[in-house]
Symmetry: D3
Subunit: 61 residues, 6 copies
C-alpha cells in the first residue's frame, strides 16, 4: 500500500529514475515492506500552476 507522491516542477527522465529508486529503497528499508508494493507518483507542474508566497513561480523567474 505505500504510495509516495512527489509534487514538483518538470524533471528529466533520469531524475525520475533516480528518485523512484531512492524513495522506494528508503521506504522499503524503513518500513520493512517489499519494494514491489511501493508506488511512486510524480505530479509534474508548469510554473504557472504553482504559487509560493502568493505569487506564481512563473512570475518569479
Amino acid at each position: 500500500m505505500p504510495v509516495i507522491s512527489f509534487d514538483i516542477g518538470e524533471l528529466t527522465k533520469e531524475q525520475k529514475e533516480f528518485l523512484a529508486k531512492e524513495f522506494s529503497e528508503s521506504a522499503s528499508r524503513v518500513t520493512g515492506l517489499p519494494i514491489e508494493m511501493i508506488y511512486v507518483l510524480f505530479n509534474e507542474r508548469k510554473f504557472d500552476n504553482v504559487g509560493v508566497g502568493g505569487v506564481l513561480l512563473s512570475n518569479q523567474e
Copy 2:
C-alpha cells in the same frame, strides 16, 4: 462532499465514462448520499511518471 480520485495510466473516454458511472453509483448506494454530490477526478499519468518497485513503468514495458 464525496470525492473519488483515480490515479491511473491513460484511459479512453469510454473507460472514463464507465468508471465515473460505476464509482459514483457504488458510492451513492453505500453512503446514501445523492449521486449529484459525488465528484470523480481522473489523474492520468504517462508511464514515465510512475514507479513500481523502484523502477519507472516506462522502463518495465
Copy 3:
C-alpha cells in the same frame, strides 16, 4: 499502480469492505489490470473538516 482515493465523512467497516471490493472490481474490469495491484485509500473526515458552499458541514446539520 492504480490508486483510488475516497474523501468522505465517517464510514462503518462494512461500508468500507463493500466499497473496497466494488471500486477495485470496477477498476480491474475496465483497465484489465490485476485486482491485486489496485489500492483503495479511504480519507475519512469529521464534518468540521469539510466545507460545502462556504459553510462547514458540521454547521449545516
Copy 4:
C-alpha cells in the same frame, strides 16, 4: 508547511495569479504563518477527466 491544492477545470494565467494571492493571504492571515511558507498547487483538468453525478463534465456541456 501549508499547502493549498485546487482541483479545477482550465484557468487563465490571470485567474491563477489572483487565486494564488487570495488563497495565500487568507491562509496567512488566519494561521499567522508567514505567506512565504504557503504553497498553492493548481490541478487543472480537462472536462473528460471529471465526473459529476456519474457523468463526465464533457458530456454535460
Copy 5:
C-alpha cells in the same frame, strides 16, 4: 467540481469556518462557478507528520 484541499497543522473551528468561507468565495468569484459546487477539505496534521528541510516540525519547536 472545484475542490480545495488545505494541508495544515491543527486549526480551531473558527479558523476553519473563516477559511471555508474565504476560499470558497474567492474561487466562486474568480471561476464564476456557483459557491454550492465548491468543496473545501481540511487535512489537519500533528507536527510529527510533517517534515520541513528534512526535520519533523515536532523537532523544530
Copy 6:
C-alpha cells in the same frame, strides 16, 4: 514548492524522522533545490482504511 506525500500504515516517530531526512535529501540532491523548501507530509492510515486487491488490509492480517 516540492511536496512529498507518503501514504502508509502507522509509523514510529523514529521512522518518520528517518524518512523525512532521506526523502528530502534525495529530492534536494536530484533537483538542486534547497532542502529548506522541501515539505514531507505523512498520511498515516489504520488498516481499516486501506484496501488491496479489493479486501481491507485489516481483513488480511
